[in-house]
């Protein structure tokens, strides 16, 4: 096991180094002049030159790369042309919102995936309809789905808020930055409820696609497991279908869906840009959207790096977890 872990870690480091290099190359090669866009049309040449100097944009490319690499190792992702603040500080401020949304979405996706997978593997009445509904929802672009949810649940039913993260004043910030957890920690039920109300629609928008993906893989996996001899034996012994599913079949069918979950988490992080924009959810997706609009290449590169590294680490955790669960994988 330790050799397996070390091997995976080494692989992760190589991938991260490649990612940093690619992000730097993209940042440098993209034809963009965010400095002028930031300081304004009438800024004097001296003002523009000063801004470029401060941002290190006048140095030779190799020097910029070395600086970028060493800064990235120390967590310094440069200065946002748009906010004028260190990018890592911006990311620290916006990341908790995205983490909260991602956790909620993944929980919903896993629950939804289980529902779809299990119902899909059964032949009971209604399973096909429910499966069709989920697949139809997942087929819609997340942007459209988000707007439909806002229209139905906010505008028509007035059940849920259309945007933002919290309305309760003086909501506790910290230690996690996740309002649901922080509210629970200080016993503020009003904060927890308000945070959940704001979370539902964006989380559902994000969760649908991964739920269907996980559900489909789980369904295939379950159908395969149901063909096994030990399942046939369990049925023959008179064990109830529910017990067969939960105590025998599901556990052995989880390997592939687990991999899919890790993959979907990475894809979900990429999908937050659209959903956070529609719901005005103040996470890194919204931050990225604003940065793209203003051509803030440094911020775009910083967010890309953080999201990329998160994706790599998440998949490493999934791989290790699978290795722990299934010794055959570690060979």
């Amino acid at each position: 096991m330790p050799r397996y872990l070390v091997g995976r870690l080494a692989g992760v480091l190589v991938v991260v180094l490649a990612l940093v290099t690619i992000v730097f190359a993209a940042r440098t090669l993209i034809p963009s002049d965010p400095v002028r866009a930031q300081v304004g049309a009438n800024a004097s040449a001296e003002t523009v030159a000063r801004a470029r100097e401060r941002l290190g944009l006048n140095d030779p490319l190799p020097a910029q790369y070395v600086t970028y690499l060493s800064d990235a190792v120390r967590g310094n992702l440069g200065e946002s042309v748009r906010t004028g603040r260190p990018v890592q500080r911006d990311i620290r401020e916006f990341l908790p919102a995205s983490i909260e949304l991602a956790i909620a979405s993944m929980m919903l996706a896993i629950i939804g995936g289980l529902l779809i997978g299990i119902m899909g593997a059964s032949t009971g009445r209604g399973s096909g309809v429910i499966r069709t509904l989920f697949v139809a929802g997942a087929a819609a672009p997340s942007f459209l789905l988000a707007l439909v949810l806002i229209y139905v649940f906010y505008f028509r039913l007035q059940w849920l808020p259309p945007s933002g993260r919290i309305e309760v004043p003086d909501a506790p910030i910290g230690p996690t930055g996740l309002f649901v957890l922080d509210g629970l920690a200080v016993g503020r039920v009003d904060v927890v409820i308000d945070a959940l109300r704001h979370l539902i629609l964006p989380a559902v928008s994000l969760a649908l696609v991964p739920a269907v993906a996980i559900g489909r893989v789980l369904r295939s996996s379950l159908l395969e497991v149901y063909k096994s001899d030990y399942i046939r034996t369990a049925h023959a012994k008179g064990i109830s279908p529910r017990r067969v599913l939960y105590r025998h079949a599901l556990r052995n069918a989880l390997s592939a869906p687990l991999s899919m979950t890790g993959l979907q988490l990475g894809l979900l992080l990429g999908g937050v840009v659209v959903v956070e924009t529609v719901f005005a959810w103040p996470g890194i997706g919204l931050y990225m959207n604003n940065s793209i609009q203003s051509g803030d290449v440094t911020a775009i590169a910083g967010v890309t790096l953080v999201v990329g590294i998160s994706y790599v680490l998440t998949n490493m955790v999934v791989d290790v977890t699978q290795g722990l669960a299934d010794p055959r994988i570690r060979i």
Partner: protein
């Protein structure tokens, strides 16, 4: 089947929890088409964060609702007007040589931190703008020195005459009075830029009490404001990047106004809604086509003129903007200069255009930057259709602003045509010509250059006689028109959609994307 029953039950439980959460609303009453918020709170929305609240650094458009409400300058423009009005200055006098501006200041004005406002405070603010050297610092570039003979008199002495000086003082991005106490105590090593990034200490009718990046901002009425107190005690500005979400919130009553970006094609749906009103305000925004004179296809003036004449600009503008824009008669934005001094003709002449373009195999890369209302994309699409009728292949595509600003570095590889809607900093012709036509100007994206035009603009800037200056600016406009390099095709309005219970809705053409918040009533 037993499995499906228990799973269906689980789904019902989840649905019930959602409904229960929906019932736990912090607001007692549902919105239901009425104004669901308190009467003395004005709810607005921005599409994006503002970069900073510092008036000496801020140089965007989104965010003017804040800076114009918490800070004030010496003079301002009146509602629906380009005429100057008193603000912190009650009156002003300009010397015959155009070098000395003497302002009499309002008495009894304090900053929101209690510091007294006087000429000395204003001098500190003005000098700070030059020291910060941000985007709008050019407005004070020709200042030689300041004088403060007494607390109510502020004198600005210029090195050279600047015919646009008062308009620059009235500009939305013009110099504002900032508390000298803050500038001194929070100076640090950056002239208090870090401190003022998310705070504001001005003399305006509102005070910035909350600045939450990515979420929104809160303004509270300034209890010590020297002039008429605003009706709305609180202004809540939420960041809502999506126009559909903003529209739903407006219809629900959770938003009081959409300040810009409302899709023109959706206006008819609003016009039949008794709860909403559409305001079509004049603005200085002018949709312009930049033609890259450095590209072989567009290197000839006759070809550029033919391309424009083939576009059928009148029907293009009517199709895209409806009655929210007008065809320019002059080379400058509406209200900056008498159109007869620099007239332009954008009539549709397809046969003349065809005869010039005959035999030329032209393909044009037409670029536009995205906007929430989608008009620039629609314009680019229609341009493609119109040019196809005269045998030109136009390929519209979207680009971000950063890419567009990089064109000047490699203009031969840049796009052929860029569709944009710039707005001048003030209601003076120099604020347009100098950013759009002048060699190496900030919004001169394709490095268009005409030395005689530059000279005319420079002469106009230094003229002390308004009529003489107008002649020079007229000449510059005529030259720009003759070159067909930057062609204004539409004077666009600022379209505001608001709840019908909002009254006294005032707008200044030179202050885009905002209303006079202090004058609003419910």
């Amino acid at each position: 089947m037993g499995i499906n029953k228990s799973l269906s039950g689980a789904m019902l439980v989840v649905l019930a929890i959602s409904m229960a959460l929906g019932a736990c609303s912090p607001t007692a009453e549902p919105s239901g088409g009425q104004s669901g918020t308190e009467d003395d709170t004005l709810n607005l929305a921005f599409f994006a964060d503002i970069s900073t609240a510092d008036p000496d650094v801020f140089y965007d458009i989104e965010g003017l609702a804040i800076t114009q409400s918490v800070y004030e300058g010496l003079v301002k423009y009146g509602p629906d007007s380009t005429e100057l009005e008193p603000a912190l200055a009650t009156s002003w006098d300009v010397s015959n040589d155009g070098l000395t501006y003497t302002f009499q200041l309002q008495d009894g004005v304090t900053f929101s931190d209690g510091t007294q406002f006087d000429s000395s405070a204003l001098k500190t603010s003005f000098k700070r703008r030059s020291a910060v050297a941000g985007g709008p610092s050019y407005m004070l570039a020709d200042v030689d020195h300041y004088e403060t003979p007494d607390p109510q008199t502020f004198v600005v002495v210029l090195e050279k005459p600047v015919s646009s000086f008062l308009d620059l003082m009235a500009s939305a991005w013009g110099p504002k009075a900032i508390s000298p106490k803050v500038l001194e105590e929070r100076a640090g090593d950056d002239h208090a830029q870090k401190y003022l990034m998310n705070r504001a200490v001005g003399t305006g009718p509102y005070v910035l009490t909350s600045f939450q990046r990515g979420t929104g901002y809160t303004l509270e009425a300034n209890p010590d404001y020297w002039s008429e107190k605003p009706f709305f005690k609180t202004v809540e500005i939420e960041i809502t990047p999506d126009i559909s979400a903003q529209t739903l919130k407006l219809r629900s009553g959770d938003l009081d106004a959409i300040l810009h970006g409302f899709p023109i094609s959706n206006l008819p749906t609003v016009e039949n809604n008794d709860d909403l009103m559409v305001e079509n305000f004049d603005s200085l925004g002018t949709t312009s086509l930049y033609l890259n004179t450095h590209k072989p296809a567009l290197s000839g003036e006759d070809v550029r003129e033919a391309v424009i004449k083939a576009m059928d600009v009148p029907s293009l503008v009517a199709d895209v903007y409806g009655d929210t824009a007008s065809i320019p008669e002059g080379a400058y934005p509406k209200g900056l200069l008498d159109p007869s001094l620099a007239p332009i003709d954008l009539s549709y002449e397809p046969e003349d255009a065809k005869s010039i373009l005959e035999g030329q195999d032209i393909t044009l890369d037409v670029v536009y930057t995205p906007d929430s209302s989608g008009v620039q994309r629609r314009l680019a699409d229609l341009i493609r259709q119109k040019l196809a009728m005269v045998g030109i292949t136009a390929k519209p595509r979207q680009a971000q602003l950063g890419e567009v600003f990089a064109y000047r570095e490699d203009v031969e590889s840049a796009a052929d045509i860029y569709v944009s809607t710039p707005t001048p900093d003030g209601a003076h012709p120099d604020t347009w010509g100098r950013i759009v036509w002048y060699t190496e100007a900030g919004l001169n994206f394709f490095n268009y250059s005409n030395s005689q035009l530059d000279a005319a603009l420079d002469r106009g800037l230094r003229e002390t006689s308004e009529d003489e200056a107008a002649e020079f600016y007229g000449a510059a406009g005529e030259m720009a028109y003759a070159d067909w390099a930057v062609v204004p095709i539409a004077h666009v309005n600022d379209v505001v959609v608001h709840r019908s219970d909002l009254e006294n809705v005032q707008h200044v053409p030179a202050y885009p994307w905002t209303l006079s918040l202090a004058s609003l009533r419910r």
